[in-house]
């Protein structure tokens, strides 16, 4: 079986459409964040992990009406209640940090109120989380640091293994993916918990992974005999098309596994999996439509006239002026007739 065996799609030529698409999505993402700042006072719906506060997850022995539970916890003043699971008997109650009160007291009060209101039900408190304000603030800082660090280290790694502009293009694509993911989280006000940060970082990893496979092919085609004289657009197009079967298959398999996780994995990791699925989709899209065009744009605007001069130590541009990459592995001359994309500069 073979999918996209001899694909010759003109991805790069379609880049302007992709730019518009990305721009629209990014604007929605940013608008959601701004809207959140106005409406809920924070750009993301930070969970207990980050704001501090208490979370109590209770399980009743039979299905329970959320409204009933809400009225038991004080009606309009009740803390936010979310029903989880499919049986309607499990609820998560989140109480924000109350001034002058220990988080513990708040959680105890919630438990007491529920037990008092439903004396006949068998109630099990299956999970409690109490986070002090200091811990929460530290976590926010740490999460931001973690993301920035991963960008920086990746940039350095790619600059060493490839060329600096490859690193920049990959980071642009990754920032693009992170922003869209964060925008999605903001738009649907998905609660940001610790695993969500793990999910965002995994997306960064995955998106890079995907981009690197394409870039690896670009690097290889560049270093192949005559590659430096090729039309850059055609060369990048060819690289994307050559890696397309792998891209589709890997993304498909990963998505399949994630779907299994989403459907059967239980409520605790549902948000986590949703974020990952979105990340895989966006990561795949961006490696083709963001990272690769970005590579060309960087070269066109800030690089020297073409890749040949940059590689041969000709006049060095400010961006591509890093040492030429090592040639990984032994390479052989290969016939690529009939594979080339007729690549007029777009």
């Amino acid at each position: 079986m073979r999918l996209f065996g001899n694909a010759r799609y003109r991805f790069i030529e379609a880049r302007r459409k992709a730019y518009v698409f990305s721009a629209v999505v990014l604007v929605i993402a940013l608008a959601s964040m701004v809207a959140n700042i106005v409406l809920i006072g924070s750009w993301q719906n930070y969970g207990v992990d980050f704001t501090g506060g208490s979370l109590v997850q209770v399980r009743f022995d039979e299905a329970m009406d959320a409204a009933e539970l809400r009225s038991a916890l004080g009606g309009a003043q009740a803390p936010p209640i979310t029903s989880i699971g499919n049986e309607g008997n499990e609820f998560v109650i989140r109480a924000p940090l109350a001034e002058d009160r220990e988080v513990e007291a708040v959680a105890l009060e919630i438990r007491g109120q529920i037990q008092g209101a439903f004396p006949n039900s068998d109630i099990e408190v299956v999970r409690t989380e109490l986070v002090g304000p200091k811990i929460g603030a530290e976590l926010q800082q740490k999460a931001a640091l973690a993301i920035l660090f991963s960008f920086a280290l990746t940039l350095i790694y790619l600059a060493i293994r490839f060329e600096f502009r490859f690193g920049v293009a990959a980071v642009i694509a990754t920032v693009h993916d992170s922003l869209i993911t964060l925008g999605f989280l903001a738009l649907f006000r998905v609660e940001i918990a610790l695993p969500t940060v793990a999910a965002i970082l995994t997306i960064i990893g995955y998106s890079l992974n995907d981009t690197i496979v394409v870039f690896d092919r670009v690097r290889e085609n560049l270093n192949a005999k005559g590659g430096r004289r090729d039309d850059p657009v055609a060369l990048v197009n060819r690289s994307i098309n050559e890696t397309l079967p792998r891209t589709v298959l890997t993304s498909g398999t990963t998505l399949g596994v994630l779907m299994a996780l989403l459907i059967f994995g239980g409520a605790v990791i549902r948000d986590f999996t949703t974020v990952l699925i979105l990340g895989v989709l966006v990561g795949t899209y961006s490696s083709i439509f963001v990272a690769s065009p970005a590579l060309l744009e960087i070269q066109r605007r800030w690089g020297t006239k073409d890749l040949v001069e940059a590689q041969r130590g000709g006049p060095r541009g400010p961006v591509s002026g890093t040492p030429p990459s090592r040639r990984p592995g032994k390479r052989k001359k290969r016939g690529r007739k009939g594979r080339r994309v007729a690549g007029a500069r777009a």
Partner: protein, 558 residues
Amino acid sequence: MLKSLRGRIIFIAVILGICGYYIYANGLKLGLDLQGGMHLVVEIDDPDGTLTDEARADAIDRAETVLRTRIDELGVEEPLIQKVGSDRIIVELAGISDENQAKDVIRRAAFLEFKLVRSWVDFAPDLPRIDRVIVATLGADSLSSLGRDVQAPTSSIEELLFGATSEEGDSPAAEEGGAEAGEDAAVDAEAEQVAQDDAAEAEEDDSAVLSPFTALLNQGSEDGVYLVAEEDVEAAELFLSIPEVQRAMPRDISLQWGMEPVGLTGRIYRQLYVLNEDAFITGQMLENAVSARDQQFNTPQVQFELSRRGGRRFAEVTGQNVGEFLAIVLDGEVVSAPVIRDRIGARGQIELGGSTLQEASDLALVLRAGALPAPLRIMEERTVGPSLGQDSVDQGRIAGMIGLVLVVLIMCTYYRVAGVLSVFALGVYVVLVLGGLAMFGATLTVPGIAGLILSVGMAVDANVLIFERIREELDAGRAVRTAVEDGFGNALSAIVDANLTTLITALILFQFGTGPVRGFAVTLSIGILASFFTALYVTRSFFFIYLSRKRATDPISI
């Protein structure tokens, strides 16, 4: 040797054997979110920042030791007690049944002191000064907002502010209080005394209205013990917490609350003891403590044994103070204050009237384990019930199975025999990851399971990269063996770069993450390393086996 086919097979078998041994011997540690349990982050409670960094670091070191001893005595299996940074301790207790008991045992400072009870007479002269300080510091507004608590009507407070002396003698509130108490007085002689004192106090001195603190104190039957009505306790605590008041206290005296409230004539009182500032015995001189039942009254008690030095000191002080009261102070509260009937040696007991035997044995436990150098505050607490954990394990297992089956199906349909080879390699991969987890003693958490399943997806990626390259080589007309060789060679750089960047992300996660996120990072890292080895060595070996059964000219199924 390893280059040869047999060598490769032996090497893979050995690795599998090692992994199998570790899985068998160590088992997989399930995280708290999977097996249920409690995760606590505690910190030295020092809101005013009075401790120096050194003192804090020292305190946290000692607290860690104390906690370890206490938790060991609690009988939790494989507890994790870990110092984080210079001022925090993470405590993870798997599968505990009573979280509140655990929290109490952890948080309890267990600072035990024996102090002599002083007489009212020693303290009374200082009361007016303390009252003046309170009035001067808090001002009229705050005092009037306390209302009834100061037992003075607003008008009196205003007069007090403007420096006018009260003409009304005693305040209506005090009168009312006296009358109220007077009615009940017949019931109880002691209460009568309380009421009389109450009224007398109010009458004997104009300054009763100017004395917010004194007005709250009632003298009971025991010398050196004030009674404060339950509803006034808050106000009294507020007054005593003012730094200026603390400075105004006599140097050698400290006021400390009784642990249990007492009921007298239908009203609830808390005892406020006048104690010697210095303790003549502290918990450090404690040698042993066990819980027991009082043989006469069947009430729980804690029997203790002092060190030789402590025993001598105890005997000396009790010998000199026969007939006086001895306060047993635990964490700043007076547990009991029995009268010293005789000289006592190295052994004694603490009576715990209304408590359960469980509480007595908890107290004995914390006393044995030693006192915390400073009180601890719980900063973060996560508890997962065992049933939720079991659900997560079950769901993770099902999702993992389905995901794996899906991967197997996709690979076998798309790559035929080569796909089957990669599925076998994937089997090796799973054993490697589980073995790695067992070897490093990593704990499997809910995000960890997700990370594991995700890394399965990524392990497939390496195989896909290789197979695509082999197909390309075959398309270009290469001979089968060359095509396979080149396929692996050409895919190498992409696999290395892709895996290393993911590894970078995982390491950062490990560095910045806590708890479940760390678990995720560890699982992901092990997964990446395993996928690296599987793709480049195991799949390749399987390919060699496959090729060795064919003639060089036969086509391969890929």
